[in-house]
Symmetry: C2
Subunit: 328 residues, 2 copies
Amino acid sequence: MPHDIRVVTETELRELVKLDLDLVNVVEQAFVALGRGDVIMPPIMSMELPQLNAEVDAKTAFIPGFDGFALKVSTGFFDNPKRGLPSLGGLMTLLSATDGAVRAVFLDNGFLTDMRTAAAGAVAARHLAPETVTTAGVIGTGLQARLQMRAAHLVRPFERVLVWGRDLEKATLCAADLGRDIGVEAEVCTDPAVLMKRAQLVVTTTPSFTPIVQAGWLHPELHITAMGSDAPDKCELAPEALARADLYVADSAAQVETRGELRTALERGVWPGTPVTELGPLILGAQPGRNSARDTTIADLTGTGAQDTAIATHVFARLGDAGTLIST
Amino acid sequence: MPHDIRVVTETELRELVKLDLDLVNVVEQAFVALGRGDVIMPPIMSMELPQLNAEVDAKTAFIPGFDGFALKVSTGFFDNPKRGLPSLGGLMTLLSATDGAVRAVFLDNGFLTDMRTAAAGAVAARHLAPETVTTAGVIGTGLQARLQMRAAHLVRPFERVLVWGRDLEKATLCAADLGRDIGVEAEVCTDPAVLMKRAQLVVTTTPSFTPIVQAGWLHPELHITAMGSDAPDKCELAPEALARADLYVADSAAQVETRGELRTALERGVWPGTPVTELGPLILGAQPGRNSARDTTIADLTGTGAQDTAIATHVFARLGDAGTLIST
């Protein structure tokens, strides 16, 4: 059956998709649907290619009420930088939720993933961070460090951002960018413990394999979002921190067991085994959230197919004439 | 990093890809690689959408030595025919095996899957059917019935084809098509037992949920390829037939346990539990195949991501100027 398919490049997508409250709200809808339990989301398909130092993941999710659903391919070819190429890539396909037909192909090279990941950080901050955040902090100095702080500022308009990274030069650059882009005071911290102490909202954005944030650094009136760990063996928080917090929340309980911060905590036997609170039910009020301003909370985000479906549908609705129309 | 991506429609692909020995040989290479054990092929990602009477599958596989690897999305929206739309659809993405970049998007609506599935039937027939096949038979009257017989004729140039289907009119049409397209005698059989008795090579191509081929119909000098069952609950052969044959061969031992004919046999306890021979090692001579002309053999094909990678790479190599070039 002939139909038209829109093929949209990364450059075109960057014109269309901005990190704003609209996007945060769309991604929040994905979590709400997950919370209702009516999302169909199979486990991530993951292909490790050790001989290439590479990994390929596919994610999908069907959200009732959304016109379409995404199937996303993410690539990580970690030797690419040696050849002057970016490590991460991939594309999203949007299929019709009515008849399964391909509606659009977003050749985004991971851009939409970056955006929906940042938006999820804002959703976590909106529902978990103390009402008043004057100082935010970010661990890591890459693209997500920038995006996560911009997204967090949409829901918690902090006055000051602190940046820590292993590389002082990169941290300095990141702080300069954040100060300019968000229009807040920006400082580099040379000690992550100091950053933690001063902030009410911290986002960890590193691909670390060993904990950076120590359990002893937790303090009242703090929310931490750990979004760097998205694969087995990655870990940003000391595993003891999870149980020590007043509340530990996952984007997907099933995923954090194998890909998130919980994996290490379970392995070390430092998680009491209580069922993990999920962000969706928490937003819906079906599971308890922050009790008081003084609580310490942690959100563990591994990235869900539901977020991909949310952003892909959002983008499709605002495509206008963008992209190349392919008639099949 | 800007690069060019080729987007190719079904119409363009149909011009490029023919069911010939070249294609059979390419798909055979995929099985050889599977047989060598060096293919990386994660389990199929499957999303059931019962409220829509639909299913979405994703498959991928990395074959060392191939320039690219495919990630395929297959859709089955089984209420589509009520709206005048085909049930099956989907697309294939070809990614570079060097840097993971998207090289091509094949908007094939399942056409390449049809072709690689037929080619796999020919690979099975080449390595398992008796050397001399004068009469071939096909159970089912759809597209794969036609393609499987055309593919089988490439490797076993039979003189006569028998067709059985539940619907006599469709069977008559299918036989007429086959007679004309292959240039052989074509007959409709009203009794599948008679078809089985007269043929040395039978391919079952139905989406049946109950066995059509009974174990008592097996006879010497026969090869059966069952390619219809590709999902849990489907079943074309009586489960007792598997152990009764001299040899039962799977495209993927892991897949036939959950999606192929073996599933029912295991469930009913009529499979002796011996390790399942796979087509790849058999082609390589690492596992025994047919011992004599009088053997009865069965091949169970569920469809592998390795076949998708094989056909996608094959198509990409012969693209020429076909398709739309998208510069990212």
